[in-house]
């Protein structure tokens, strides 16, 4: 079966594209015939010639009759893997079921490792390849794959499961910009403070003045004539002097009438409002741009991951796949900064 799986996975890529339409159209009578004669034989033939959609269809029917049949299960999984990138996750689940049905067989573990490696789930890939190699030390693919995964520098883990991220709706992101963008929150808080500052003009300036008596003084001397008692008397003069100290204490309260009736602050408040509105609009557009960019990257990554699961040693696929993965990681971080969700 090893050989069969191998030939299937390498040849089916071409077959699945050309045969799919025709076979689906003819599916009903063929299944009826297969049910009557030998459904299993039909399925084996479809599998042997690399007809993925047909094999998938027939083995699914067989699995309904025998849900615990390992061969049917693993062949459904291989057929799913070969039908296209959109079935990669379903294929993974099918291999998981197969590994539960026959945990002592290395094949399903190897395929799980290949899909994990393709999805950049490094640790899971190492575990699954390691399990395949433990079960079958002669499994060269598992040995080389283990070496390959360990030799590659690990990429950063996505903050959430890829499927979870991929299924999140655009509206969620756009709606959360207003409530979760750090920039918008900051501007809103600054606007609130600026609005509070309107009341500043009502607060007066208070002045306390004090003139201490010790340091404030006056000192005067004067010379004045004495009033003569007789006209012929000579004038006599007298000196007088005054000196003293004085102190005072006062309180003053001042308002700036301009600030009371025509504040500069209004310009600032309006400026904050404009800035907030523009930022919100720009950031919502940016979230939409990033979402669209990431959706395309997801599409590309899924294609490349599928190709990588079928050809784990292909260097160009790996280079491109890892590039898309890193771009998805970066765009996801950008989206999180804007919206608070990944």
């Amino acid at each position: 079966m090893n050989r069969l799986l191998k030939s299937f996975s390498t040849s089916l890529l071409i077959c699945s594209c050309t045969v799919a339409g025709a076979d689906l159209a003819a599916a009903v009578p063929l299944v009826a015939q297969a049910n009557q004669v030998n459904l299993e034989q039909e399925a084996d033939q479809a599998y042997a010639r690399g007809d993925a959609p047909r094999a998938l269809f027939l083995y699914s029917r067989l699995l309904e009759q025998q849900p615990n049949n390992y061969t049917f299960q693993v062949r459904v999984a291989v057929a799913l893997l070969n039908t296209g990138p959109e079935n990669l996750a379903a294929s993974y689940e099918a291999f998981q079921k197969a590994s539960r049905l026959a945990p002592e067989i290395d094949e399903s573990w190897l395929f799980l490792g290949q899909i994990d490696e393709a999805w950049e789930r490094r640790q899971e890939a190492i575990n699954h390849y390691g399990q395949a190699l433990r079960l079958n030390p002669a499994n060269q693919q598992a040995f080389i794959a283990l070496q390959r995964v360990q030799a590659q520098p690990p990429l950063p883990q996505l903050p959430e499961n890829l499927t979870t991220i991929e299924s999140r709706n655009l509206d969620n992101y756009v709606a959360r910009v207003e409530t979760h963008s750090r920039r918008v929150q900051g501007l809103r808080a600054q606007l609130q403070i600026a609005e509070d500052l309107r009341w500043r003009a009502l607060f007066p300036s208070v002045s306390l003045g004090f003139s201490p008596s010790r340091n404030s003084r006056f000192d005067s001397t004067s010379v004045s004539a004495n009033t003569p008692t007789d006209f012929n008397d000579p004038l006599t003069f007298r000196d007088s002097s005054n000196r003293g100290r004085f102190g005072s204490f006062y309180v003053g309260v001042f308002w700036n009438i301009t600030d009371l009736f025509d504040q500069d602050n209004e310009t600032r408040i309006q400026s904050y409002r404009n800035n907030l509105g523009q930022n919100l609009q720009t950031l919502q557009q940016e979230a939409q741009r990033l979402y669209a960019l990431r959706s395309n990257l997801f599409g590309e990554f899924r294609q490349l991951a599928w190709q990588a699961a079928l050809n784990p040693t292909d260097r160009n696929i790996r280079l491109n796949r890892r590039d898309r993965y890193l771009q998805i990681f970066y765009v996801t971080q950008q989206l999180h900064t804007l919206t608070g969700i990944y």
Partner: protein
């Protein structure tokens, strides 16, 4: 996968010589299978089989060399392992020129010219007929040396992105500067409590001279007025202290707005720098990946000028990005 393997096998002088049986102690079947796989250029199978053979005979030079050689051909992701493999082979038998030659090729491809030159020279010393070693020496000496990477290639490759993100807050000069300004602004919150102080001192003096008519009590000549000169002089000085408070600054300070602006500025700058660190990390990861591919191709074809040109271009870009990352995060 086998294409470069075959390509390299054509260029190897000693390729066929290496096919000779290595030992008779190991079960013949496994060794024969390994030799067959090696002969047909099946790198993956060779790695698989020679790894098993080496478990049985860890000090077998030929097994070790072939494992390293198969790894070299298996792909760029095995370049580092291949280097370690050739080092082991060289340690097992330091008198054979081949592992030295391959070590030199990998060193040259990874832009370690000093090590490359040393290893080429060692290979040439051991085998003066080794034309590739001779050409390698001349090639390395003729090329202008590039700046060294600030850290080893694999250290750069293995450092996790989380280290860089964490490094932004503590190592970014922009964030540190803003935080310093924020601390000063926080200290300025107490400004409103400090009053404006006016200290005034005034001094004045006067001098007055006048004539005052004096009416005597008794006079024989009514209507006659006696004018008496009078003078006065004096000085005074006044000292006052005024303390002024703006109650708006105490209860509703504009500094609140400034503090909030700093807080937002720091948070936004941190976000931006963290994103920038991630952008640079990702860009550099791609460049490291490309560089590894090119270094691998360069190891297989050391004299290819286009590969060398592209490889050195990626290398210089990696240095520049590493410096940018260091400026933001403190880490290369």
């Amino acid at each position: 996968m086998s294409k470069p393997f075959l390509l390299l096998s054509l260029s190897l002088v000693s390729w066929s010589a290496l096919l000779a049986p290595a030992s008779s102690q190991v079960p013949a079947t496994l060794q024969q299978q390994a030799e067959a796989a090696y002969a047909r250029g099946d790198a993956a199978r060779s790695i698989f089989l020679y790894s098993q053979l080496l478990q049985q005979q860890p000090d077998n030079y030929q097994f070790q060399f072939r494992l390293a050689f198969a790894m070299l051909n298996a792909g760029p992701e095995f370049l580092q392992k291949s280097y370690v493999g050739f080092q082991r082979a060289k340690d097992i038998n330091p008198n054979v020129d081949e592992p030295w030659l391959y070590l030199a090729r990998i060193d040259e491809a990874l832009e370690r010219p000093a090590q490359a030159l040393g290893n080429y020279q060692r290979a040439f010393q051991l085998n003066p007929n080794n034309q590739q070693a001779f050409a390698g020496i001349r090639r390395v000496q003729a090329q202008p040396a590039l700046t060294n990477l600030p850290d080893a290639f694999d250290v750069l490759e293995q450092r996790p992105i989380t280290d860089y993100i964490a490094g932004v807050e503590v190592n970014s000069q922009a964030v540190q500067g803003l935080r310093g300004q924020q601390v000063i602004a926080q200290a300025l919150s107490w400004r409103g409590l400090l009053p404006g102080v006016n200290i005034n001192f005034s001094t004045s003096n006067y001098r007055n001279q006048s004539q005052r008519p004096i009416s005597p009590i008794f006079t024989e000549q009514p209507g006659r007025v006696i004018l008496a000169p009078e003078s006065s002089q004096g000085d005074s000085s006044n000292f006052t202290v005024n303390l002024n408070w703006n109650t708006a600054d105490i209860f509703l300070s504009e500094n609140r707005l400034r503090l909030r602006a700093y807080e937002d500025d720091i948070a936004n700058t941190l976000d931006n720098l963290r994103l920038e660190a991630q952008r640079l990390f990702i860009l550099r990861s791609n460049l490291l990946e490309e560089f590894r591919q090119l270094a691998w191709q360069a190891t297989l074809n050391p004299s290819d000028r286009t590969i060398r040109y592209n490889r050195r271009d990626r290398y210089l870009q990696i240095i520049y990005l590493s410096q940018q990352l260091q400026a933001i995060t403190g880490l290369y």
